[in-house]
């Protein structure tokens, strides 16, 4: 009966994920998967030989309640870090299972013992790494943290983790001290590994930890002989790995590079000095430029999300369209903090899908655009990615906004973006800066266009 229910849950998960992969059925997909989860959880209470039910229910109420509250309350723009933190919790749970099993210390075969340790390592790294990712996106950690010999130290910590892991695998009944050291080192490695990663790389990292947690869950599933955990964990592990690759590819950087290069902080001085000066423009002139243009391309970025400007921007676009201006949205694959982040926000505002274009679809159209309106995007339109081999983002495909006849950049202040890289686009002759919060600027633009 329990096995049958787990089987049903696994089927529901896969069907749910399948439905989530099409916009029409996506909503139903999560409900299916949710039903699978409820079935699996309820039936587990009838697992033979269990005790500690009081503690179990209490823990579920605390963990579930806190997650329910934060999940309902959080703003749409903060979704990425919430996914990071929930994902980290999953990794932590997998590591906890391994810890309990290791403390008990009686494994049927060495294979199970190895899998338990492997799952513990992966789960711990996903846990502490995701927490750092959360702290970074939440703004608790502002910059990429780099220190001398960082990679060497990381490597040493990882090696030490492996040594203790091997001790655990090859000891009959692992000693408490070794177990403790193993988990501490694994957690430390997750932190050290994530600290230097910043900027545009965060989506890739969250996706990677998502895949890792899936794998850890699958490994612990083997240890517990739980088919639902094996299947669900493996499916997520594979899907997450593919998604991670897609994202890394979108940035034209191999995954190893993302993880080990210390993005956004190295070689700051070696970069070509940016020449020219930033030229400001007022909302009135900007609105006039766009209202009398033939074609306007809008490039949204994380700043749009922060300012919650999507509704106002769409209102502005509709006004432009009434005046006969052709407007398109250009979305970079890693704009925002997660792939598809901008699509979600624009969908929320009611922008039809057929006005939204991917990088490849629209990049050739920029030279024909009269005005490109960049709202809160930075690295994804930085021409240094094409021109400057010393730039940390060199080689990343970008939206060629600089090739348009005019560029208007909506930006809150003069500083560099999330990745800390100076943007040459802002200094070009055909670029005008429109300072202000995205939503406020969009409101001003709407007012100005109405007066024209």
């Amino acid at each position: 009966m329990i096995e049958l229910s787990y089987f049903a849950a696994a089927v529901l998960f896969i069907l749910g994920l399948k439905r989530m992969s099409s916009p029409v059925t996506a909503r139903g997909g999560i409900v299916w998967a949710g039903a699978g989860m409820v079935v699996a959880t309820l039936v587990t209470f009838f697992h033979p030989g269990l005790s500690n039910f009081g503690l179990m229910i209490l823990a579920m109420l605390i963990g579930g309640g806190a997650a329910w509250y934060t999940g309902k309350k959080v703003a749409m723009t903060d979704m990425p870090q919430m996914i990071a933190i929930y994902n980290g919790m999953g990794g932590g749970a997998a590591a906890s299972i391994a810890a309990v099993e290791l403390l008990k210390g009686h494994f049927d075969t060495g294979t199970f013992q190895t899998l338990a340790v492997a799952g513990a390592l992966i789960g711990s790294v996903a846990f502490s790494g995701s927490m750092i990712a959360f702290a970074k996106l939440q703004g608790l950690i502002k910059r990429s943290i780099l220190f001398p010999r960082q990679q060497l130290i990381n490597l040493a910590v990882f090696a030490a983790t492996l040594v203790f892991g091997l001790i655990l695998i090859f000891s009959e009944a692992p000693a408490g001290f070794a177990i403790f050291m193993f988990f501490m080192l694994a957690l430390l490695f997750g932190i050290l590994m994530t600290l230097p990663i910043g900027g545009a790389d965060m989506p890739v990292v969250i996706s990677l930890y998502n895949a890792l947690t899936g794998l850890a869950v699958a490994f612990e599933g083997f240890v517990l002989g739980n088919a639902a955990m094996i299947i669900a964990g493996t499916v997520v592990g594979a899907a997450g790995t593919l998604l991670t690759q897609l994202m890394a590819k979108a940035m034209n950087r191999p995954l190893t590079n993302v993880l080990f290069s210390g993005f956004g902080a190295q070689g700051g001085e070696a970069m070509e000095a940016v020449e020219g000066s930033m030229k400001e423009v007022g909302p009135m002139d900007a609105a006039a430029m766009m209202a009398y243009a033939n074609k306007v391309v809008i490039v949204p970025g994380y700043g749009l999300a922060v300012a919650q400007a999507q509704h106002k921007v769409w209102e502005f676009v509709q006004l432009l369209e009434e005046k006969g201006v052709e407007v398109k949205f250009a979305i970079h694959p890693v704009a925002g903090r997660m792939p598809g982040h901008m699509n979600v926000l624009l969908a929320e505002a009611g922008v039809p899908y057929d006005k939204i274009y991917d990088l490849e679809e629209i990049n050739n159209e920029f030279p024909q655009a009269d005005v490109v309106l960049v709202i809160g995007a930075n690295d994804v339109v930085n021409p240094a990615a094409r021109n400057d081999p010393n730039s940390p983002i060199y080689g990343m495909p970008i939206l060629n906004a600089d090739k348009a006849r005019n560029v208007i950049v909506v930006k809150r202040g003069k500083g560099t973006g999330f990745s800390g890289i100076e943007n040459a686009l802002f200094f070009l002759d055909n670029t005008r800066m429109l300072y202000g919060d995205g939503q406020a600027v969009a409101s001003q633009l709407i007012a100005e266009v109405k007066q024209l």
């Binding site: 989530m20 099409s22 959880t41 579930g64 955990m229 493996t234 598809g340 009611g350």
Partner: protein
């Protein structure tokens, strides 16, 4: 119990399924899908429940308790966030502009 090659078969097939499922996803759904798959590995809750249920010493109970708490957070949080995100997609379809 699932052992040896049966386990390997399950692992292989499930991996294939995961790869296939996401291979056909439009970019627009990447974020919700990442969130959805994040929810799916919330099944770890079940394992944590079993671990806590079998715990005998206080230390085991404590770690098991933390595990169940984290697992429940993963499952519930993953669900709430994914549902909110997908709900938005629905509403944008209902009032096409």
């Amino acid at each position: 119990m699932i052992e040896g090659f049966t386990a390997l078969y399950i692992f292989m097939l499930a991996g294939f399924v995961g790869y296939e499922v996401i291979g056909r996803v439009p970019v627009i759904l990447h974020t919700p899908l990442m969130s959805g798959s994040n929810f799916v590995h919330g099944i770890v809750l079940v394992g944590a429940m079993v671990a806590l249920g079998h715990a005998q010493t206080d230390l085991e109970r404590m770690i098991g308790f933390i595990g169940v708490m984290l697992g429940a957070g993963n499952a519930v949080g993953g669900y709430v966030v994914t549902e909110r995100m997908l709900e938005m997609f629905k509403s944008s379809k209902e009032k096409p502009q």
